[in-house]
């Protein structure tokens, strides 16, 4: 065999051996087993320690409280929402005690009024609502109930109710004008309450020939306000004085 070919062959062999050796050294053990990554990485991530034990673990020991909570308005609120991560407590119940927040700053994280919260979610103004009294004085966090249950509509539509309470329409119950199916209370967005559908509805009190107390302002339904609907000019929850 010519000398050049032999030398070239040796050079190629050396390069191949170096390549394989370097590759062997640089590429991690499990790289490429499951894809273009180190398969062992998924296992090491899966082995991270837990911090939150999960509410099932709490129920094993704290059954009475768990059952009380399960049947309450806080049934969907997991124990560790308020008591914090409790995996250490589960591992050593005697030595590690999870905290219980008692200051007034904690409950408003969920229940403080915020316009962006879904309507219907129970909210209070933390500044005006019984200042300085801890929430737990009146509300049991494991089975919370409002001490005084607000009127059906007012519970969610407090702003409208407060406005109506100081208006000429104060004595009218909401259901005079709105039809509210019971399902509206459980699914406020899916089942919406009805509203009056035309001028004639307001006319039952405010038309010139309406059968209603004489102090109620009257208008000529055929000429007043042209073709506009009444509530395009007058806000029914706070109608202006005549």
């Amino acid at each position: 065999m010519p000398q050049q070919v032999t030398r070239l062959g040796i050079a190629f062999a050396v390069m191949a051996i170096v390549f394989v050796a370097v590759r062997q050294r640089l590429v991690p053990d499990t790289f490429g087993e499951a894809g273009h990554y180190r398969a062992a990485a998924a296992d090491s991530i899966a082995a991270y320690p837990l911090k939150y034990a999960g509410h099932e673990e709490c129920t094993l020991c704290h059954r009475p409280i768990a059952e009380e909570r399960r049947d309450s308005n806080h049934s969907g609120v997991s124990c560790e929402v308020c008591h914090g991560p409790a995996a250490e407590h589960v591992a050593a119940p005697g030595t590690v005690k999870p905290p219980a927040p008692r200051d007034r700053g904690f409950c408003p994280l969920c229940h403080g009024y915020n316009a962006a919260r879904p309507s219907g979610f129970p909210q209070i103004d933390p500044v005006a609502h019984n200042p300085t009294v801890p929430c737990m004085t009146c509300h049991d966090p494991h089975a919370p109930e409002p001490p005084v249950i607000p009127g059906a509509c007012r519970a969610c539509h407090g702003q409208i109710a407060s406005q109506k309470a100081v208006s000429h329409h104060a004595t009218l119950p909401c259901l005079t004008c709105h039809e509210a199916p019971d399902e509206h209370k459980s699914s406020p967005r899916a089942v919406r309450p009805g509203k009056p559908d035309g001028r004639d509805f307001c006319g039952t009190c405010h038309a010139e020939d309406a059968i209603s107390p004489s102090h109620i302002p009257r208008v000529n339904m055929s000429t007043h306000g042209e073709d506009y609907l009444c509530w395009q000019c007058h806000y029914p929850h706070h109608p202006e004085a005549s």
Binding site: P28, F31, A34, G35, H36, Y37, R38, A41, A42, S44, I45, A46, A47, Y48, P49, L50, K51, Y52, G54, H55, H74, G76, V77, S78, E80, V81, G84, P85, P108, L109, C110, G112, Y113, N114, A115, A116, R117, P118, F121, R189
Partner: protein, 267 residues
């Protein structure tokens, strides 16, 4: 073709070197197929259309559902995530966070997320002129076609067989390409370890049969967790009964975090 030494077959022209053209082409074809296979560059099972994986884990694809109408913006998810995954406390490292959207009457959209929503949201100074306002929890979308996985130069970020996008922190070189590639801003750079970090869907909790920490602590069940494609689990039910959207669908990243009742202004 005049010498007597050559006794060619009149049908087959022979090249001067003595190898006939047909044999040469045949050998070349065999070599072109055989060399890559021998070197292991092309894997034979894939060439034959067989999938090398075949394990049962591939049949489980995780996903998350988020109902905007149920989110009260308490930020417990963001707090639980920081606790569970040892995310630094500084207000710019988040695996998950809550954004507040405010859409004014004139169409102006204001988005804020003070400390990711961990400490609650201050009330608006001026509520007048509010058209709509709501909360949007965000996290890594664990995209099926994840841009972060595509750009990683070393294969340190990857999609597992069950659909979670993870970072191998021992193998990450900290180049930060993935942080820039993520269209959802879901990745962040660990200042101590100098590696990219992100939501893992609490992969360590899934391995123990538990749901992610944010789902565990969500007090209104606005977040739920399950498997995509299986009928009998909470996520499948969520996907059947709601109008579902994903974030930035035009990017074709195929997210596996599904939003119900999401406003068109959400980006």
């Amino acid at each position: 073709m005049t010498g007597p030494a050559a006794a060619p077959d009149p049908e087959r022209p022979v090249a001067s070197g003595g190898v006939d053209r047909r044999d040469f082409l045949w050998e070349a074809l065999k070599a072109s197929l055989g060399v890559p296979i021998a070197l292991g560059v092309v894997r034979v099972p894939e060439l034959c259309g067989m999938q090398a994986e075949g394990d049962e884990e591939a049949e489980r694809i995780y996903g998350m559902g988020i109902d905007i109408n149920k989110c009260i913006g308490c930020g417990r998810c963001a707090q639980a995530c920081k606790n569970e995954n040892d995310v630094p406390d500084e207000p710019y490292f988040f695996n998950t966070w809550v954004e507040r959207y405010l859409i004014r009457d004139d169409g102006e959209v204001v988005v804020d997320s003070p400390n990711g929503g961990l400490d609650g949201f201050p009330p608006y100074e001026d509520e007048g002129g509010t058209l709509r306002t709501f909360f949007v929890p965000k996290l890594c979308n664990h995209c099926e076609e994840a841009p972060c996985v595509q750009v990683c130069p070393v294969g340190a970020t990857f999609t597992t067989a069950d659909g979670a996008v993870l970072v191998d922190d021992e193998y990450c070189i900290g180049c930060g390409y993935c942080v820039q590639a993520c269209p959802y801003g879901a990745r962040w750079f660990d200042p101590e370890e100098h590696v990219a970090r992100k939501c893992t869907f609490c992969y360590h909790r899934l391995a123990r049969g538990k749901v992610p920490a944010c789902v565990e602590v969500c007090p209104t069940s606005a977040r739920l967790f399950g498997e995509v494609g299986h009928r009998a689990n909470p996520l499948a039910r969520f996907l059947r009964f709601n109008d579902i959207q994903v974030l930035k669908p035009h990017l074709n990243t195929k997210p596996k975090v599904f939003y119900a009742n999401m406003d068109g202004e959400v980006r």
